[in-house]
Symmetry: C3
């Protein structure tokens, strides 16, 4: 089964969406299986990262912004804004899809892991995230 | 079900393979489910990227070639050619597997998304791409 | 079905775990399907890489250590050690989950591909790897 989560426009950087994904798993009633996320964009990313200290996310954003810089003279695709081509490079380096096992209707994340949307563009826009659930058990039997 | 796509030898860089993958999904008759791609190589990658303006791919290739350079003195594994170790680094930074949900027998890609093979070696060679399909419905029932 | 593999503490760098994953697939009795790995940590990674010449792994480690440096003044999250924030950046750049098709009870890896744990921290710690198996056939029928 596939669900679509519409993620509200946000500032550039990491926004935790673990609870949104958890909500889909919960509502599905799936006992155990696999939860696969797929982001339908090439200028934003998905990421599993530590969700305890917010400084981790800020440092990661700062490091990546220094690694992939706006105004880099190597970029020729500039018509959509100075932050467009850096966004495409970041979306190549970071995941567009992620798969997380589910057990007892819970995402099997590690203690410090959260799921994040990584917005790479400055102009806020809604993002569309697909959540696919593979049931280990036959879903028809559990209804 | 697993299918093998043999991808023809190509120049280094991004080559769109969306239609090849779409063909496998179409022939399978799968209504909804999950399409997982796995590339059987460590010197090429898979990538979801914008397929509208070819300059995006060219800029991405240029950025990555500057980031991971041939002849870098840090590399000791040079017996297979100057472009071999950079290819391994690129294949670490970019995906070897990707999962895309399927609905109504169509890959649920975003408007601007295409699936690409990213060839990192200069000597053209055939590449082997596995396409695994997880059916949401029982495939036996739909035949 | 989900299995948990406890990976013994190890030095920083790449450690091959292909045989551990192969063991899970073998014991499961799964004929064909999809094997999805998920690492429950944000300071270590999974990687598909060449397992023939050990110099490939050493060069990759050296390249990444130069790319993401300890003591970088851009990092503010330093309370957990100088190698903590670089570990988070590396875990963002490299995969946390991987999916590999299975056929005839064998992982369909390419000739030169191995599965590796990439430990990014210096203080050795046990790591927890989830192995989820999606059966193409109905597992109840094959018992």
């Amino acid at each position: 089964m596939v669900y679509t989560l519409n993620l509200a426009p946000t500032r550039p950087g990491l926004i935790e969406i673990t609870d949104r994904v958890r909500g889909v798993v919960s509502e599905s009633g799936m006992s155990s299986g696999l939860c696969t996320l797929f982001l339908q964009h090439t200028s934003a990313s998905l990421l599993i990262q530590e969700n305890a200290d917010p400084a981790v996310c800020r440092d990661l954003e700062a490091w990546l912004n220094r690694c992939v810089t706006e105004g880099d003279s190597i970029f020729t695709h500039t018509s959509e804004g100075l932050d467009d081509m850096p966004a495409h490079v970041k979306s190549a380096l970071l995941p567009a899809s992620l798969s997380i096992p589910v057990s007892e209707n819970e995402l099997m994340l590690g203690t410090w892991q959260g799921i994040f949307l990584f917005e790479h563009r400055r102009l806020p826009r809604e993002r569309s995230l697909l959540v696919h659930l593979t049931f280990d058990e036959d879903p028809k039997l559990s209804l």
